[in-house]
């Protein structure tokens, strides 16, 4: 059996998990996948976060992707970072750069097992700030300058691909080269506030082809979080696992300790449990009914008869779910156009699910109180944040 086939049945521990430390954010990006803005009063305390790290160490989760919100606005962020790396849990954290002044940059440069990922969604201030807000381009560039000056080795620049920035791919690469950084590009998903702007921002069919061609030409040195495998149906498979890792090798711990199948699926249908419950994260990972279902082989549904199913695997569960498409049908951005047809076929009766978790500063407070966990529609599969993003994986084959 190929390794990927083993992965679909799940692992004892995640290979890599995303942990969002806070819903608080100084920005209000229009496409924020976690609808962040305000801190949630129920967020894990420092002690609780440390006990999660202890548990990750016991479970041999060797690194986590930390995000938010803006994780660095937590006053205990640096303490937790140190705690993680001294407990054999390496950290890659995503930030808009707001706290990365010269002092912090120097501190990071002196710390092992830390990767920094700066978000930038336009190669120019005009394009970036349109999505991420005024001043955010300058903040990101300043952080990159500080890291470079401090001698921090190869930060990542993380770009969500939109209709407005696909044409800037070469410019993004040039920015990365200028700062000794590595470029990472990922797919825009209709998750969180992204649902409100997806129609306007997601790349056109022509741009998808352009993106694919660019990746085939330049992909060797560019990380993608494995998020474009729906484009593999154009022909050549893109580098990556080509496996939906949700609940299998990947999951999300949100700021209040809720565990979801994937970072793009903050919705009660994909909620597996909470790290505060008896047995903690390990019990959720190993015992959750939802995850057990996600670890079944997927069926393919309406896509099964398509000759390209093996390469695209039906695309992204979250993209389908949050556009109101059936989970066992085509991805909304199916390169053969079936997704567009499915979107066009939606009618007044189509229910487009909305997350009930919203910490946008414009939203009412306490969008979700204590809610009984009910699992309704089950996903056929869920996708992304590749477990292996950015890693070269030598496999000792037999």
């Amino acid at each position: 059996m190929k390794l990927v086939e083993h992965f679909q049945y799940g692992l004892n521990s995640p290979i890599c998990l995303t942990w969002e430390l806070t819903y608080a954010c100084n920005l209000a990006c229009v496409h924020c996948l976690s609808s962040s803005g305000r801190r949630d009063p129920r967020e894990l305390s420092t002690a609780e976060a440390k006990s999660v790290i202890d548990e990750l160490q016991r479970m041999q989760v060797f690194y986590v992707n930390i995000g938010g919100g803006e994780p660095t606005v937590r006053s205990d962020f640096w303490e937790l970072l140190d705690y993680a790396v001294t407990h054999d849990v390496g950290v890659k954290f995503s930030t808009n750069g707001i706290k990365l002044d010269e002092t912090r940059a120097a501190q990071l440069a002196a710390t092992d097992y830390v990767d920094v990922q700066i978000s930038l969604d336009g190669a120019t201030a005009e394009v970036n700030d349109h999505v991420r807000g005024p001043g955010s381009y300058a903040t990101a560039i300043r952080a990159l300058e500080n890291l470079a000056a401090a001698g921090f080795g190869q930060p990542k620049i993380s770009v969500v691909m939109t209709r407005q920035n696909v044409d800037q791919l070469d410019e993004f690469k040039a920015i990365a080269d200028r700062f000794g950084a590595q470029l990472r590009i990922t797919r825009l998903r209709p998750s969180g506030r992204g649902a409100d702007v997806w129609d306007e921002l997601h790349p056109t069919a022509t741009q998808q082809r352009q993106l694919y061609d660019w990746l085939v030409a330049h992909g060797d040195n560019v990380l993608t979080g494995d998020s474009f495998f729906h484009l593999s149906a154009y022909g050549e498979a893109l580098p990556g696992l080509n496996l939906c890792g949700a609940g299998r090798v990947v999951c999300l711990i949100d700021p209040v300790g809720d565990v979801y199948a994937c970072p793009f699926a903050i919705h009660e249908n994909f909620l597996a449990g909470n790290v505060r419950s008896p047995g903690g994260f390990q019990e959720v990972w190993r015992g959750s009914e939802l995850f057990a279902e996600l670890r079944q082989p997927q069926t393919g549904g309406a896509c099964r008869s398509c000759g390209f199913y093996d390469s695209c695997q039906g695309g992204c569960m979250a993209a389908k779910f949050f556009t109101g498409l059936p989970l066992d049908g085509p991805d909304p951005e199916c390169v053969r156009g079936f997704g567009e047809q499915a979107l066009a076929a939606r009618d007044a009766d189509t229910v487009i699910p909305k997350s009930d978790v919203d910490h946008s500063r414009s939203a009412p407070r306490n969008s979700r109180g204590p809610v009984p966990v009910s699992i309704g529609m089950r996903p056929d599969r869920a996708c992304d944040e590749s477990p292996l993003a950015g890693l070269r994986v030598p496999v000792a084959g037999i």
Partner: protein, 94 residues
């Protein structure tokens, strides 16, 4: 794990690198190297047994014997172990 790594010689004693952690998984084990921060995988439980048993044997061949690796599988296992030596998962034991 660079170009100056010695050629893999199964006749000499080896061990799993002390900078490596093996995490048991249904297919075998996940390997994490704290030095290179690379993940890799041991694709069979038997290979896990060989790798973790290396330090108890005078050479690689006897570790393969002890794990019960069949003769027909030897070349494949030796190739896999050579790969593991090249990426620093296993190393010569002095």
């Amino acid at each position: 794990m660079s170009t100056d790594a010695p050629v893999f010689d199964p006749a000499v004693p080896h061990r799993c690198s002390p900078r490596v952690a093996l995490r048991p998984e249904p297919f075998g084990a996940l390997v994490y190297h704290f030095g290179t921060r690379r993940l890799s995988f041991l694709k069979t439980p038997q290979l896990v047994e060989v790798v973790s048993g290396l330090e108890r044997h005078p050479d690689v061949h006897s570790a393969l014997d002890a794990a019960g690796v069949e003769e027909t599988q030897r070349p494949a296992y030796l190739r896999a172990l050579a790969g593991l030596a090249a990426n620093g998962t296993i190393e010569e034991r002095l």
